[in-house]
């Protein structure tokens, strides 16, 4: 059976799994085909007063290898054509890329059928609930992805909905997902939701007044997104290569791809 157990044990540091059993444990143990993998990468979404911005890096990894430097994670959803020129929603998926693509295609097909049947595009809130249902239906064999849905709500305000792999969701002002979520999210808490920011001279201790939370203007948000990713790239090996940004406003969706460090 030697040929079946020849994987070298890497003794160096493992990235986030510090404590792992190095020897076979006594008792029943089962090894089988693992249908999941982690393709790394990170995503980020911020809702503004009249826009929503979605971003993701374009690196796709497997282990320590870079499979490709350009694999988009942010998708336009719900257009009538394959070019998605008239799309009204954005979806970002990060985690297991194959599940991400399957989820994206399924949601898009559903939005297209909705348009065909109702003669109008699906609203973000409707699509948000539908996406949750799709993911929850696969509760016992989940899509291994962290999804974020973005668009403009009925009042024209930016909307961001974030999901866990089994479909729990919530509307938020901003959210980071994927490999570098834990690096980016605290930065967003501070810079978007002004956490731990107080108005100077308003008192001490509990007397301190929190800085008032106002939606950020678009140009500031774009800078914030770029900064967040530049920092994540420095500290996380699975993030880098390119930064794909999509901005949805009442005039449609703008897309741009900026370079990130490729090391």
């Amino acid at each position: 059976m030697a040929m079946f157990s020849q994987n070298p044990v890497l003794n160096g540091p493992n990235y986030s799994f510090a404590e792992v059993p190095k020897d076979a444990v006594d008792g029943l143990r089962e090894h089988r085909f693992n249908p999941y993998t982690d393709n790394g990468g990170s995503t980020l979404a911020i809702a503004g007063a009249d826009f929503a911005i979605m971003a993701g890096d374009t690196r796709l990894t497997s282990g320590y290898s870079i499979n490709t430097r350009y694999a988009p994670k942010v998708f336009k959803i719900g257009g009538t054509t394959s070019s998605q020129d008239d799309a009204n929603l954005l979806l970002s998926v990060v985690g297991y890329a194959a599940d991400g693509e399957a989820l994206q295609e399924r949601l898009d097909a559903i939005c297209k059928m909705y348009r065909y049947r109702h003669g109008k595009p699906m609203s973000v809130s409707a699509c948000a609930k539908r996406l949750s249902t799709i993911m929850y239906q696969k509760r016992f064999f989940p899509y291994y992805v962290y999804a974020i849905l973005g668009g403009l709500d009925e009042d024209g305000r930016g909307a961001v909905y974030s999901y866990d792999p089994v479909g729990s969701f919530e509307r938020e002002q901003c959210r980071a997902g994927g490999a570098a979520a834990s690096l980016i999210m605290p930065f967003l808490d501070n810079q978007v939701n002004f956490k731990n920011q107080y108005v100077p001279g308003t008192g001490v201790g509990h007397e301190l007044k929190e800085r008032e939370r106002l939606p950020l203007p678009r140009n500031e948000v774009e800078v914030l997104v770029k900064d967040a990713f530049d920092s994540a790239v420095e500290r996380h090996i699975e993030v880098g290569d390119g930064l794909q940004i999509m901005i949805i406003t009442k005039d449609g969706i703008e897309e741009k791809v900026l370079p990130l460090k490729r090391d």
């Binding site: 054509t81 394959s82 295609e105 097909a109 297209k112 059928m113 065909y116």
Partner: protein, 270 residues
């Protein structure tokens, strides 16, 4: 009450080798208001006359967008057409999901052809009471297909089905040579001219009763697509006007009084 003994179901031949139920279904197509389809080297166009059952009701839809590259026009039972349209929509979506390509027209039409044929060979089934014109663009360029309740499908350069469609076909046959080289608007113009031929005397093409569907290549030899779009109401105004102006010019040029439209026009259709 029966007209004959061989039309109770669609699986029995008459001694003359006819299947009456299928022929009756073809009659249903002739009851529907007229639709015209025609193709050039770059475009495929569908034109239709919509009917309203009464003054107070809305106009019945005649054109359906199936996918970005395909649309169809119907003559006959609208509800049957919707079943076929939904089926085609599903097939096109699934073709994109499995192969990431636009469904080839020939394939799509053969799918509904097979579906309709089944109804003519199973006891207790009813043939579709609708005829279709399927227009679209695929890898090999623009196409127009005709579909009949019998399951017959054939590719056409130009075609018209529905009530009084013979008049339109005559126009199409007469002008067939011009179509291939036509630009987008020229082709629509021909489509509306053909449509106009079918109208009874005091009827006109109006913003309310005319539908135009267009799909094509943005440029000959390139793959860029002008997606199928149905134009209704104000969108068709300019096209209708151009057809009307022309007709006026013709009648005055022929020295006619343009007056004889008195009021005794026969009300056959609508």
């Amino acid at each position: 009450m029966f007209r004959n003994n061989y039309d109770n179901d669609s699986v029995t031949f008459s001694p003359q080798g006819r299947i009456f139920q299928v022929e009756y279904a073809a009659e249903a197509v002739k009851q529907g208001s007229v639709v015209v389809g025609l193709t050039s080297k770059t475009h495929a166009v569908l034109c239709a006359i919509k009917r309203n059952a009464e003054e107070l009701s809305s106009y019945q839809k005649k054109l359906f967008a199936v996918d970005e590259h395909v649309g169809l026009a119907i003559a006959g039972l609208t509800s049957d057409a919707r079943v076929l349209s939904n089926f085609m929509k599903q097939q096109c979506l699934s073709e994109r999901l499995t192969y990431d390509r636009a469904m080839p027209l020939e394939l799509l039409v053969s799918l509904i052809g097979d579906k309709a044929q089944l109804n003519t060979q199973h006891y207790g089934r009813r043939p579709y009471g609708v005829g279709l014109l399927v227009a679209g663009v695929d890898e090999t360029g623009p196409h127009l297909f005709e579909f009949q309740p019998s399951g017959l499908t054939q590719e056409m350069l130009a075609c018209a089905i529905g009530a009084r469609s013979q008049m339109a076909r005559t126009y199409l046959e007469k002008n067939l040579d011009q179509f291939a080289a036509c630009g987008r608007d020229e082709l629509i113009h021909h489509g509306l001219r053909a449509l106009k031929e079918t109208l009874v005397q005091d009827r006109e093409l109006t913003l309310e009763n005319t539908s135009v569907g267009v799909v094509g290549l943005k440029e000959l030899g390139k793959k860029a697509l002008e997606p199928f779009k149905v134009h209704d109401g104000p969108d068709v105004k300019d096209w209708i006007n151009s057809v009307a102006d022309e007709a006026e010019a013709e009648t005055s040029a022929e020295g006619g009084e343009g007056e004889g439209e008195g009021g005794e026009g026969m009300q056959v259709d609508e």
